[in-house]
Symmetry: C2
Subunit: 255 residues, 2 copies
């Protein structure tokens, strides 16, 4: 299930209900800390980064043991979250997984699964910058932990060449502080240095910070793993601190 | 402000509060009908499709007249919604727009704006299909009403060639029923006919319907303007009715 960007007021009732119904809750510690008060009386398994396979496997074990389990992702569980890994593991273990709430008259279901969507991090970030995602966009994670850098590079180049707005996830880690700079060099091969860029750190969380800048002038050192970087397309403009990608209405219609 | 996909349980408190605070509400009729009971006592301006410029202009007029105004988009207001057009119009009219909640000690602010994000339609759709958006993805609208078809075609080709998962908005209208078929032909130039595809109609609304199929075999005639079509990348698999794009965890880690 999805927690959204962070602040409680962005978690819809559907997610609160899923948490309420759970006897056991799994998640990355930083995210569970955001909802600590909702976890009273529940068995809570929190773990650190890069323990995703173990965490999802244990969540599945608990569900197979008959427990009602919530596995928490921040943002949307279906975007760089845990929804896919749960299904990957179920498939590898050859489990029969049915959709929650669907009658299973055939029987033989090992576990019922419901994926609860949430507000993705890049939408929360975009709303703070203005309206940069109003036209076709691409999301690319710069993490080369599971994806070869050549593929990431190819996607950045293709998206820039086809004039997509870009939402960049995992832009800069402590262990790989150079990835964003490499990405910027690639994008500058296809886009003007004047292209508007928004950096949004910790959108809708304590410590929220943002900056609307340009591809040529962006302060790369301000970016961390809790940031989303949005790079405009060739029509995106900056205006009084807002970053906007027009969809084209005012080219077609009179005011 | 954003309404999310439809069902009330997916509207976060932040959006409910924005509606509560509004004296005047603007929106597309179909979306306002979803929240009719929340509109009691408010002045409501609902309009049809293709009246977006007029609707946003009137909403700005009301705000300039001192009213507290909510302009409603379904899904996320920042994704093919109304957030950008509001800023476009304010810029054209040379209005001073400040962020709601930010102190404006400099004065001279014409109106205060807050963009409330919501769960986008494609995330709601993806959650019903499984986890198709777990890796880098691109969103493309097939509407050629404001965007030349050549640009749409270029983006589809680039996204397919760089192995993005694709979320297709506005896939098939009554007036242009052939657009999805044209898009499919383009994608088949870069992707196997076996590529998994999900069609999700009216996700999280009355009449919800979905189908997990393939690019070669997809029932194009089932798709309408209230559908999202998700096309997998080269790693996406179908398994017992679920569509999943693996992020690569199980290639790297043992179960």
């Amino acid at each position: 299930m999805s927690l959204g960007p962070g602040f409680r007021s962005f978690i819809p009732e559907e997610a609160i209900r899923a948490l309420d119904a759970a006897e056991v809750v799994f998640g990355y510690k930083t995210y569970l800390d955001l909802i600590a008060d909702l976890l009273a009386g529940k068995q809570v398994f929190s773990s650190g980064m890069r323990r995703e396979v173990e965490r999802c496997g244990q969540a599945i074990d608990q569900a197979l043991a008959g427990k009602s389990v919530a596995l928490v992702s921040s943002g949307d569980a279906g975007i760089y979250g845990m929804a896919g890994l749960v299904l990957d593991i179920c498939r590898k273990r050859d489990l029969a997984v049915a959709e929650s709430g669907v009658d299973s008259t055939e029987g033989g279901v090992d576990l019922f699964l419901k994926i609860v969507p949430g507000i993705p991090a890049f939408n929360a970030a975009a709303s703070l910058a203005g309206a940069p995602l109003m036209h076709d966009f691409a999301a690319v994670s710069l993490s080369d932990h599971l994806t070869p850098w050549e593929i990431i590079e190819k996607r950045l180049r293709a998206a820039a060449a086809a004039d997509f707005v870009l939402a960049i996830y995992n832009p800069r880690s402590k262990s790989r502080p150079d990835l964003l700079e490499k990405a910027r060099e690639i994008l500058l091969g296809e886009r003007s240095p004047q292209t508007p860029v928004a950096i949004i750190r910790r959108a809708m969380r304590e410590g929220q910070w943002k900056c609307v800048t340009t591809l040529g002038g962006m302060p790369v050192e301000e970016v961390d793993m809790q940031s989303v970087v949005i790079v405009g397309n060739s029509s995106t403009y900056m205006w009084k601190g807002w970053m906007v990608t027009p969809r084209g209405y005012l080219d077609k219609y009179e005011l």
